[in-house]
Symmetry: C2
Subunit: 365 residues, 2 copies
């Protein structure tokens, strides 16, 4: 039998998985068309609706990782020639741009320094100028730890018939998120961040406005696997067979969502915030500097500058992994070699985990 090392997962995800989620993962497999599995899908959907804070009927677990969820939205919501406005302030805005272009979108980017966010008024002015069919920003940039305010973007987007799309991969279930309250038309997340479920599924939600667009395309979407006209019928409506859903992964997602809702979302957000503050205080005490905008930093993803004097940052991360079983994340894209990313997500957002992180850093630095 395979042996797997024990790791303290404090990079950008996957995060530490709760024992009951692993237990759920190992429950006996049943059929993807079994009425019992349909019941589980219904419960998974209802719980995702609660975490997304939405009444969207079209809320489902896309059968791929967060990147597949992103592609599901771009493939279904972008038609060839559509003007798209996408913000890039980290790696993931760039990837969304790539996906929108492959779907035929004419993409206009706004750019901000990595670690910073966009000024809402500047976004609104750009929406007025471009009248885009799709406006897409990253709520929680996993590559930079920046949190983009989303609460004032919907009205301007909708005025011109556009859709407001959000990446909430890292924020989902870890901080306030209001899909309906903020007027977001479509959002996607991943299971392996603040939900603390292994990677493999992507929670996705779409408003009626978004589904109207998806259902009235002039041309079929690029993807058969991610086509909401087909996947949607499996998750809702006729329950027609589309693909063989990752059954056991949906069990794990069910348990992870249950844990989040049992704790209470507000309590969970407060826990992430409190643990973030403890970590931040410890890091600053040790001379670390944060690299993300202090007014718009995520609690669960801490972007810190690699301290002066660290010549071989990869070697330090390797030492943390090998000697202290601690995984932290290197910088991504242009932040590679410049910053580290320390995640405190979901089941791992606990005081004792902060202590372990700081102790390990003390030992190697």
């Amino acid at each position: 039998m395979l042996t797997v090392p024990h790791r303290l997962l404090h990079g950008p995800g996957p995060s530490p998985v709760a024992p009951s989620v692993l237990e759920a993962l190992a429950l006996p497999c049943i059929g993807h068309m079994d009425p019992a599995f349909m019941g589980i899908m219904n419960e998974v959907r209802a719980m995702m609706q609660q975490v997304f804070k939405t009444e969207n009927e079209m809320t489902l677990a896309c059968s791929g990782t967060g990147s597949a969820g992103a592609e599901m939205l771009m493939d279904n919501l972008v038609e060839p020639g559509d003007t798209c406005l996408i913000g890039i302030n980290g790696v993931f805005g760039g990837r969304l741009t790539d996906k929108a272009k492959r779907a035929g979108g004419v993409v206009h980017n706004m750019n901000a320094e990595w670690g910073q966010v966009f000024d809402t008024d500047e976004i609104l002015a750009k929406i007025e100028e471009l009248k885009p069919k799709l406006v897409c920003f990253v709520h929680a940039e996993t590559s930079t730890g920046a949190c983009q305010p989303f609460d004032k973007l919907a009205e301007a987007t909708h005025k011109h018939g556009g859709l407001l799309v959000m990446d909430c991969v890292t924020s989902f279930s870890g901080m306030p998120l209001e899909i309906d309250g903020w007027g977001v038309d479509a959002a996607y997340s991943g299971t392996q961040k603040c939900l603390s479920c292994p990677p493999g599924l992507s929670p996705v939600t779409l408003s009626e406005r978004a589904m109207h667009k998806a259902n009235n395309r002039k041309t079929p979407c690029n993807s058969w696997y991610l086509d909401l006209a087909l996947v949607g019928n499996y998750w809702s409506g006729s329950r027609a067979y589309h693909h063989t859903a990752p059954v056991n992964m949906n069990y794990a997602l069910h348990e992870a969502l249950s844990l989040a809702l049992e704790e209470g979302l507000e309590n969970r957000f407060a826990r992430h915030q409190a643990v973030h503050e403890k970590l931040k205080a410890g890091l600053i005490e040790r001379g670390f500097e944060y690299a993300s905008d202090p007014d718009h930093s995520l609690p669960m993803l801490n972007l810190v500058k690699i301290p002066a004097g660290v010549d071989d940052e990869a070697a330090v991360r390797k030492q943390l992994l090998n000697e202290h079983h601690l995984e932290i994340g290197g910088g991504l894209g242009k932040l590679a070699g410049v910053c580290w990313r320390i995640g405190i997500m979901g089941h791992g957002a606990r005081d004792e985990n902060v202590d372990a992180i700081l102790t390990a850093l003390d030992a190697v630095m």
Copy 2:
């Protein structure tokens, strides 16, 4: 905690999962960039190469179900305007056609009765006529139980610069399959058939000839998530981060592949064949008729006509499920209400499972 009913999985998949595969699934999650996970990926690849009987370097577990693997091949190997020859003798040839068209392919179909296979000489004549860039057939049609011979198609395909592509979702690890021996350029499978791993990953392999085409496209492929220029670098070569791999699903795949290779492929094929013969004898004794070509029937997927006198076949399947915990498959597509599909795959291909199937059928019929 979620409760899940016990089921005897004898539909078209998922199949019964071995206990050690569920144990592997529940091992602690580690990072997708962890050197230990890279080691696991290497072992998964090496074992998939053995089961595919290929030396293809580009052999990987696509992070989605079998349908995603199919789409990965179509998206990467079909360029807009490419002539494609795709056989339809069941549901999955139709789906491949849909995917090839979305990738911009000009698809010519050969059609055969569902349950029948194509005559090799007719295929060769069609290849000579069309000189297609892509020739794609389904080795093991999960919707019909038919097994298409593949051993004489490569030379004609390659003569015109074409690629030979195979769906081996249901045959992989359950019957002879010779990717290199038959000159197949690209093939995809699923984990939940004869491997008896839960659904969620798709074993995929591509020859150097196929990768040359994928790497020299004039336009980027439709999909970012499935783009082999990107995914391939994560599974091989530079090991660059692409997406967060479904870590625990790869553990399960590792264990399922280990079990298959420990048993020995030839032994495993013989076991499937012997159990098929036992099941077939029992079904025929009870008056069932097979609906697939007797000379080209799959051992692991048994297509039988619903007996005369069964008015409500869905009710019978429901009774089998509720009273005997037995899942068998309904007919798919044009075979819905006409045939049943009884799978004996992987861990479920055992004498005692055949006994349980026949006992349950006796009780309800």
